[in-house]
Symmetry: C2
Subunit: 406 residues, 2 copies
């Protein structure tokens, strides 16, 4: 007998039939004798509707009232799933954030979990009662409703698994696991049986939408075994675990991409100390997040070209900031280019293998794909390329690293 946290997203709870389907999946685990806490999102589309209403009333709405409105979506699904479970003979009750309580801190609308008082919840589990917990929400110390920010239900689930010392946290979603690459682009992509927290973190932050970055971090920090699997099909899914649990490490586990990049090049910037600060200071002041940065070696010893990337959402703002500071920055030309994508190869095995980057560069060169910017970390290599080459690059790299399904 184990204690398991199961989390279901909005697509898995989009209507009554899907809620019934979720109830059957929960029943199966409960019948196996496990203690089950289920974390639910709102019905798909519901949160967007509620958010939209608050924005229509005022773009500058009180975030405390935003939380009151938006948290109602999970309240509905928690009650409905509890009823669906009882209907098929599974003892169950719903828990709102304030009832547990799950105490939060920080700012309304993007609160962080401070602590989860598990006593009442664990009592119920001990009586064989499935706890259906509203995800994405908590209560501030002043007893007002808080939400954890978009995608916060994953975080609720992992935090609950940690607090309840659960054996596993199963994240049910609309895909059946984590893939070596996006199967919509790379037909030969394979589902991974296991992946390390570090790799999952890189994948999540590099564009794979399977898990919230924050929830993976939390799982890593608390040693929660995460599993990603489908609500709609049976299968073991993908286990996200500590590196020590994976004996045979892949050099490259997966290839991620992000279309949400835009490139800005400043030609012939003065090559003197302090110039980087002069550029990135105003961008930071304007809340523009800069991702990749590359500065060429100066040819003439006086000027240099500087390239960096920002998200597409920040692109126009970033360009304006740079133009506004033209006099100080003294560049000869500003070259904005939103038509780029970032492609990343990820793998913990990279640490002990040479030649991983070389394979990437050679593969892309063979296909005639120009690398515009490169950035690396211990377990990933990212390159920026022209967006037209995205599919070609992904398929070529997938083959080159031996990831293709047989």
């Amino acid at each position: 007998m184990a204690r398991i946290v199961m989390k279901f997203g909005g697509t898995s709870l989009a209507d009554l039939d899907r809620i019934r389907n979720v109830a059957w999946r929960v029943k199966r685990e409960a019948d196996a004798g496990h203690q089950i806490a289920v974390v639910v999102s709102a019905m798909a589309g519901q949160t967007n509707q509620l958010v939209d209403w608050t924005n229509q009333l005022s773009p500058l709405h009180d975030p405390r009232e935003y939380d009151v409105v938006v948290a109602s979506g999970e309240q509905v699904t928690s009650g409905l799933l509890a009823i669906a479970l009882q209907t098929i003979g599974v003892k169950a009750r719903s828990w709102q954030g304030w009832q547990i309580p799950l105490v939060s801190r920080g700012a309304h609308g993007k609160a962080r979990i401070d602590r989860i008082e598990t006593e009442a919840l664990a009592d119920g589990l001990g009586r064989g009662e499935v706890a259906v917990v509203s995800g994405f929400q908590g209560m501030m110390p002043d007893r007002r409703i808080a939400t954890l920010g978009r995608g916060g239900s994953d975080t609720s689930a992992v935090a609950l698994a940690a607090a309840l010392h659960a054996e596993r946290c199963d994240i049910y979603t609309d895909v059946d696991g984590v893939y070596t690459c996006d199967p919509r682009i790379v037909a030969k992509a394979r589902k991974l049986d296991k992946i390390t927290y570090e790799e999952m973190l890189e994948l999540a932050s590099l564009g794979a939408k399977v898990l919230q970055t924050r929830s993976v971090e939390l799982a890593m920090n608390h040693g929660v075994r995460l599993r990603v699997l489908s609500s709609f099909a049976d299968g073991p899914g993908t286990l996200v675990v500590d590196e020590a649990e994976i004996v045979e490490k892949e050099v490259v586990s997966g290839i991620a991409y992000s279309r949400d990049e835009a490139k800005i090049t400043l030609a012939r910037v003065a090559d003197r100390p302090g110039v980087a600060a002069a550029i990135f200071g105003p961008l930071a002041d304007a809340s523009v997040n800069v991702d990749m940065i590359v500065q060429n070696v100066s040819e003439d010893g006086k000027t240099t070209d500087l390239t960096f990337t920002v998200t597409k959402a920040d692109f126009d703002r970033a360009v304006k900031v740079i133009e506004d500071n033209r006099k100080i920055l003294a560049y000869s030309e500003l070259k904005p280019d939103p038509r780029v994508v970032k492609v990343s190869v990820i793998g913990v095995g990279m640490r002990s293998h040479a030649g991983v980057a070389l394979t990437m560069f050679r593969t892309l060169a063979d296909k005639g794909i120009n690398i515009q910017v490169i950035s690396t970390s211990e377990i990933k290599i990212s390159v920026l390329i022209d967006e037209e080459y995205l599919e070609l690059a992904l398929r070529a790299l997938h083959s080159a690293y031996g990831l293709d399904a047989a």
Copy 2:
């Protein structure tokens, strides 16, 4: 400066424009220097949708989970109205039942209000903050969400007005007050400026849908001055007050009707002691509520005819109970008839005026309308007639009692 409770129903909060409109009405009272608590229902249609979901999952759903699902509707409108108020410069915050707390007791789904702890709420009001309170909901002593039963928001508002010692409880609805008769049928119906609690209670329980019976009872018991007025048009509405506040009492204040009646006659029942118990015992066991009863004087000294009415919803069940007990009841014929309506004239002045009933009987006779059953109380006379004569009867009585608008 006074303390006022304002209550808005679902039609008044059906979309964002209407919520904005409500915010302006609240602002007007707040600008007049009053302390304001607003009680809100869910958006029109929302509660029905949520109830429907719980019923689809299981007609025998856990009422505790039903409450979790259904109470979410008021949570949404409370947050949205708080935002709408802030947007036009009115300090406001939302309060859920559990935050106040409004402590309930009794059965989930139809809980009663046990007590309202007004301290935190009154602190906010004292700081000039409008309290936007989710109606229809409370918290059980075990900290689970409770709802007060359909139409419970009126009750929430009156109970809150009593607990806050408010000067007035204004019920905003889609009509501009209480009328002498249904204006859709009687074109000459007049809006009443004032009406007594007792008359309002009779009107509410006899079919006028303006106010919940329970909320009128509560207002009467706690001496809360109620006002019924429109959210969509300006005007003083109708004040529901103690009899002592009305100097010139009308003999008849209003005429109500109900289509929700069905008649059952048992012909030639044995006229002996215990026969009424033999008939109404099994009906009570089957949870059939019997309204009017009339038993004729026996002609032959051995048998009598007995007629009673039930709601249309209980009609089939009542007929079956009577048929099942045919042997014991020994009637010669069962005559079920759902094609009847109940018409009632109501007025506290009746107590001191003779001839009110006579006017009713004579008026109906003049129009050739047969009275099937009569029942009376201190301040009302009800008759059962063929449903075809409803409109004719209402208009004739309205004129006969001098209620027609000039």
